[in-house]
């Protein structure tokens, strides 16, 4: 694998991505109604080469946060800084610069690849979009990419609808890797996959990080998966970060009651341990509502 | 529901205003309005005096407002060619056209919905036949079907009258006999089209998860079909019936011509070939009124049946 773009590796102490008091609002219905505030002054940092896990339940705003970094959600306040440059509020054209360094893997392996295109076309797209590659160079690079994600070279000639969910997710990862990004937003990359395929894709993501040094913002609802892949974990609830700490800390001994409840609610594959956790959760619930 | 209703009503009225204005201004583009009345040999002077006589020397906007005001009170002006009151002639012709289109719509809807329901539930040969008939029904021009039906049932077999119309009040039996062939002509393609759409709507609902869940509660299949499936499939089917009716208004012109029915069609065609502007305007206005009311009824029915629409 080719190493990440080594352009602005100026200060290693500087975070790669800094989100500061980010506010995202969506207009709902008429002009008279107040906009719906999805993120309330969220602040986060992602360092180079690390994985920051982001967990939360549906509607917590975790996906919106990822979309805001990608320039796909309306930022109403706060700043997003990537490698020392503000990237919030950039126009579509200006956005195309940093987009080379920030890529994405979506949850739905069926919707994220255009069903009527071949895998080769899908992977060529990010390579030729900025005229960085000739078609010939792009073809060679596609071979490398497919190999890196563990797919045979002849996959390029196939259409997305011929592949299984796991294979599609590998293609989506290859597409994200194509421009040699420094950060990949992984939005629930394994939650639509079956157990055995899920482990394959998790391993692949970990291996690719070790090989290329890319950083991940890993968004998921499953605390055990997030805990497995992340260095640090941030927990979101109702548009706010309630806790952000070392991954082992969050997945074993969280501080915030919300996180504690979340952790205890996720069942573990061991009947005896699960019975204890259930009892602990009932005790926690009896002590008073931990929500919020 | 109230806001939904008012909004639909307001947009219907706005539509009527815009369409009437557009027709009026379109008609105003007629280069020499008098020529249709006076003939090709008319001199420029004659044309100019005719212009004044018809009041066409005034600017178009005040003329439109006058016309609109009069139309609101039911006065559509006087025909340039026959001198008859336009509202009166439409009043005598409209029942014929409505007899034809309404009967045809009811026949098509009844048979089409029943057939579509049957095809969606039983599948197999009925389903395939409906599909083939729908494609064929679209391809076969109604006017050819009409001619063939006349040739067979009126000329060869002499079972039914080939042409003419008897008002309902005069003789219900003869009224029905005079409508059989025209309605059959329309029904050939209409039933198949509605059946195909109903089948698709019902098939879509049948695959919904809630149908299985309702059956898991022990509700008999027939009840699930008649209450839940039909209720959810009705709005799309109704929309198709509405569109079918609107299409029929145009198709009726041709059908009326084949069977020599004295409906709006004959009035419109006569007026068109003679450039009788007030009559054409009247016919357009009345047709749009009918279309708008049909759409309004379909919208309201959908609003009642689909809670998500009704609450918006």
């Amino acid at each position: 694998m080719e190493p990440v773009n080594a352009t602005a590796a100026a200060d290693p102490a500087q975070p790669l991505l800094t989100i500061d008091k980010l506010v995202v609002e969506y207009r709902t219905g008429g002009r008279r109604r107040p906009p719906l505030r999805v993120l309330h002054e969220v602040s986060l940092e992602v360092h180079a080469h690390e994985t920051l896990g982001l967990v939360g339940e549906s509607g917590s705003g975790k996906t919106t946060l990822g979309r805001a970094v990608l320039g796909l959600a309306p930022v109403a306040g706060g700043t997003i800084t990537f490698a020392g440059t503000r990237i919030d509020g950039l126009g579509r054209r200006a956005r195309r610069g940093p987009s080379r360094d920030i890529q994405v893997v979506f949850q739905d392996p069926y919707g994220s690849l255009n069903p009527s295109m071949t895998i080769g076309d899908i992977l060529t797209e990010p390579l030729t979009a900025r005229h960085t590659h000739t078609r010939r160079a792009a073809r060679e690079r596609i071979g490398e990419l497919l190999d890196a994600v563990g797919l045979p070279a002849d996959t390029a000639a196939r259409s997305a609808r011929e592949l299984s969910g796991g294979q599609r997710q590998r293609v989506a990862i290859a597409r994200a890797l194509a421009p040699g990004p420094r950060l990949i937003i992984c939005d629930e990359p394994v939650s639509a996959l079956d157990l055995s395929t899920r482990a394959q894709v998790i391993n692949l993501l970990v291996e690719l990080q070790q090989a290329t040094g890319v950083a991940y913002l890993f968004i998921a609802h499953d605390l055990s998966v997030v805990g497995h892949v992340s260095d640090r974990v941030a927990v979101m609830s109702r548009g706010e970060i309630v806790e952000c700490a070392d991954a082992t800390r969050v997945t074993t001994d969280p501080e915030h009651p919300y996180t504690r409840n979340l952790l205890l609610a996720a069942p573990v594959p061991d009947p005896a341990r699960q019975a204890q956790r259930r009892a602990a959760r009932h005790r926690l619930a009896a002590q008073g509502s931990p929500a919020g | 529901m109230i806001t939904f209703l008012t909004r639909r009503l307001i947009s219907a009225v706005a539509l009527l205003l815009v369409v009437s204005a557009l027709t009026f201004f379109l008609m105003d583009l007629l280069p020499d309005p008098g020529r249709g009345i006076l003939g090709v040999s008319a001199t420029d002077e004659q044309l100019a005096s005719k212009r004044r006589e018809l009041g066409l020397d005034r600017p178009v906007v005040p003329r439109y407002l006058d016309w609109l005001w009069a139309a609101l009170r039911g006065d559509l002006g006087t025909s340039w060619t026959t001198g008859l009151d336009v509202a009166d002639s439409i009043g005598t012709k409209l029942p014929v056209t409505l007899s034809l289109t309404l009967t045809a719509t009811v026949v098509c809807a009844l048979f089409g919905i029943a057939l579509g329901l049957f095809a969606a539930i039983r599948r197999g040969i009925v389903d395939r036949s409906v599909h083939v008939l729908a494609v064929a029904g679209f391809a076969i021009p109604g006017l050819w079907v009409g001619i063939l039906l006349v040739a067979l049932f009126a000329v060869r077999l002499d079972w039914l009258p080939a042409t003419g119309y008897v008002p309902l009040a005069e003789s219900p039996v003869d009224w029905a006999r005079s409508l059989v062939l025209p309605v059959a002509t329309i029904a050939v393609s209409g039933i198949a089209a509605i059946a195909q759409q109903t089948r698709n709507a019902v098939a879509t609902v049948l695959e919904r998860d809630y149908v299985r869940t309702l059956r898991s509660r022990g509700l008999p299949l027939r009840r699930v079909l008649l209450v839940h499936v039909l209720r959810n499939a009705t709005p799309p089917a109704l929309t198709v019936v509405g569109l079918q009716f609107i299409g029929l208004l145009g198709g009726a012109l041709v059908i009326e011509q084949i069977f020599a029915l004295p409906g709006l069609g004959s009035l419109a065609i006569g007026a068109t070939s003679q450039s009788d502007v007030p009559t054409v305007q009247g016919v357009v206005l009345v047709s749009v009124c009918v279309v708008v009311s049909v759409n309004l009824v379909v919208d309201l029915a959908t609003g009642v049946l689909d809670p998500k629409v009704g609450m918006r």
């Binding site: 796909l72 421009p179 394959q200 979340l262 | 583009l29 494609v135 299949l221 209720r231």
Partner: protein, 660 residues
């Protein structure tokens, strides 16, 4: 118009996973089908569709006769000869003469020019206006969308033919003018179609991904969006072409067309005048119109199919109830069990035969017991559950086996008898709460309806009972939810409503198909608590279908692990998690991240579940199994092991033989 949605359902497993080859060059990776049947491009697929090719041929013929009309006949289309008036076919007039003595063949040939010309103008104008405006409205949205949608609605509400007449009144007869106006009017449905499709596609993740990849708007439009909307546009264009032909003939028939232009509609007019003298006159133009419109429509459908490249689902036939001979029960039906499934086989029609998605499945559920049915997607868990309820999707049927419930074989009962048990003795909780409530009815009425139909309660009693049930499943404000429509409540709330419906009649057996998969973990924990307490209160037996082994550990007493349509292991929960006997169960458990050794390599199972058509003849798991041995080439039968059974050759005499 002829938007034929094929409603047939392909067998779920067959549709999910494409064919798979035993190519295992890259063990960690998934293999891609290498020897899949040769695929064809759109052109290849088109040429393989006989109807589409025939339609294209007919259309080409019509075009050719129109172009070469002058070469094919010596008569002019408008030249009248007295001796040809209503003449019978002869050497000089192959199709005879019409009422004015014009040559029928000549008018027919020249008429095709008019028709094609009319269709081309109307279709061209409709597409030229409708497609760009629709693309802009769908992609950009905002005020442009609002304005253009309003105008389109205006056009849709116009009675087209009447407007055309008004135009003729002003401008006089003119083919080009009226077809342009028709094109403008039919641009409205094109606009609506394109706008709707673009709006739908615009929200797809792959468009977001293209944007993130740095593609400019025009390129996204060209590469992704146009590609998707071209198929419905083709269909719509063919319908507009056909419509234009029919309307042109209608106008000409009414005598409002250009007098000196040969037209099939004008020929029909002549024929209708002479319907008493010469009935054949109408046949030629009538058949010409029909054939041409048919050819255009079918060509459009063929092009759509060629571009869409959707696998054709097997034709859904009427449901037959043909069951194989009932096999001798493998286990004795003991009376203590609530439900005993024995040798169940569920099959769907598939291209080239039948696909058995569930195969020789046997399991039992005791009173008050919760049995977990686990496995990856496509293994047949849901199909097994639905077969017990006799609610399989269209096409699916129970081919053999018995489903003994309370001494009666559900598989053999009449629909009426099964129905009497459903809801009353057997309850069902579905997976997705939002799609399982009828959107058109209030929640209350959906609960009351079965209570009245089934238990014969009065309206008031049923209402009281429904409110009690809503309260029982933990809904804080039962009266509000009772009066609400499904779209007004949250997913967790809807799932509680569905549970309330399932347990309304206090059934003996509850079938829950992934009841918590669509929910957040905190809501899931509450729902599982609820199911646990309902079981305690009523002593219900339960089959819980899930892929989440954590859920199994939380609530199930016993577990059946399914793989590729069959059960590979049954065990008590305690045994399965502590000492899994089948390599597949062990591998599934190992693949779950457990917190220990973060970022370490998770053990994986290579490849994926084989599709229904590619199941190995021996042990179905063998190609993926780390312990595979020569003995695995024989399909293993279940062997008793501890308190359950295992389908693996390594389990002999209740001992696992580790032969690695």
């Amino acid at each position: 118009m002829n938007d034929n949605q094929t409603a047939a359902i392909a067998p779920p497993t067959a549709a999910e996973a494409p064919a798979q080859s035993p190519d295992r060059a890259k063990p960690a990776a998934e293999s891609v089908p290498a020897a899949a049947p040769r695929r064809h491009g759109p052109a290849g697929r088109f040429l393989r569709d006989p109807i589409a090719v025939a339609a294209a041929a007919v259309l080409l013929l019509v075009i050719a006769t129109g172009v070469c009309a002058g070469l094919l006949t010596e008569h002019g289309p408008n030249k009248a000869a007295l001796d040809a008036v209503l003449a019978d076919p002869s050497g000089t007039h192959p199709l005879g003469g019409d009422g004015s003595g014009r040559d029928v063949l000549s008018r027919l040939l020249y008429g095709s020019r008019t028709s094609l010309f009319a269709g081309a103008i109307a279709t061209g104008v409709a597409l030229l206006i409708g497609v760009p405006t629709g693309l802009a409205a769908g992609y950009v949205g905002g005020w442009w969308d609002a304005l253009s949608s309003w105008v389109a609605n205006l056009f849709l509400a116009l009675p087209g033919v009447v407007v055309l007449l008004a135009l003729v009144a002003v401008r006089g007869p003119g083919l080009v003018g009226s077809m342009v106006v028709l094109g403008v009017l039919t641009a409205a449905p094109v606009f609506r179609l394109v706008r709707g499709e673009v709006k739908r596609v615009r929200g797809e993740p792959y468009v977001d991904a293209a944007r993130v990849a740095g593609l400019s708007d025009p390129r996204i439009m060209g590469r992704h969006i146009l590609r998707v909307v071209r198929v419905p546009i083709i269909t719509q264009a063919s319908l507009i072409f056909g419509l234009a032909l029919i309307i042109e003939s209608g106008i000409a028939f009414l005598g409002l067309g250009e007098a000196d232009r040969a037209s099939w509609g004008a020929m029909l007019n002549d024929a209708s005048v002479h319907v008493y003298d010469n009935a054949m006159l109408s046949v030629w133009p009538g058949a010409a119109i029909t054939l041409t419109v048919l050819a255009v429509t079918l060509l459009g459908a063929g092009l759509r199919d060629a571009f869409e490249d959707a696998p054709k689902p097997p034709a859904a036939t009427r449901r037959r109830r043909v069951r194989g001979p009932a096999r001798e029960p493998a286990v004795r039906v003991d009376t203590g069990a609530l439900l005993v499934v024995d040798g169940l086989e569920v099959a769907y029609p598939a291209p080239g035969g039948e696909a058995a998605v569930v195969d020789a499945v046997s399991l039992r559920v005791d009173r008050g017991e919760i049995l977990g049915l686990v496995g990856e997607s496509g293994c047949g868990k849901t199909q097994t559950a639905l077969a017990v309820l006799r609610l399989l999707p269209v096409g699916g049927e129970i081919r053999s086996g018995r489903v003994m419930f309370d001494g009666r074989d559900l598989a053999a009962l009449s629909e009426r008898d099964v129905n009497a048990l459903r809801g009353r003795r057997i309850g069902y909780i579905p997976q997705d709460p939002m799609s399982n409530l009828d959107p058109s009815f209030r929640i209350g009425s959906q609960l009351v309806e079965p209570l009245r139909a089934h238990l014969g309660l009065s309206r008031d009693a049923a209402r009281r009972r429904a409110l009690e049930l809503l309260d029982r499943v933990g809904i804080a404000d039962p009266a509000r939810v009772f009066a609400a429509y499904p779209h007004q409540v949250s997913g967790g709330m809807a799932q509680r409503v569905l549970i309330a419906g399932a347990v309304a009649a206090e059934p003996d057996l509850l079938i829950a198909d992934e009841p918590t998969t669509a929910l957040d973990v905190t809501v899931q924990a509450e729902i599982l608590d609820l199911l646990r307490s309902l079981r305690r209160e009523h002593g219900m037996g339960m089959i819980l279908v899930t892929h989440d082994l954590g859920v199994v550990a939380d609530i199930c007493d016993r577990v059946a692990v399914m793989y590729a349509g069959e059960i590979v292991e049954t065990a008590t929960s305690a045994d399965l998690f502590a000492r899994p006997a089948h390599p597949y169960s062990a591998a599934l458990l190992a693949a779950i991240p457990d917190g220990a050794g973060a970022r370490s390599r998770l053990p994986t199972i290579p490849d994926r579940v084989p599709s229904v058509h590619d199941r190995p003849s021996g042990c179905r798991f063998a190609p993926r199994c780390a312990y595979a041995a020569p003995g695995c080439a024989v399909h293993p039968e279940p062997t008793t092991h501890r308190d359950g059974a295992v389908r693996c050759v390594r389990v002999e005499n209740e001992v696992i033989v580790w032969n690695r």
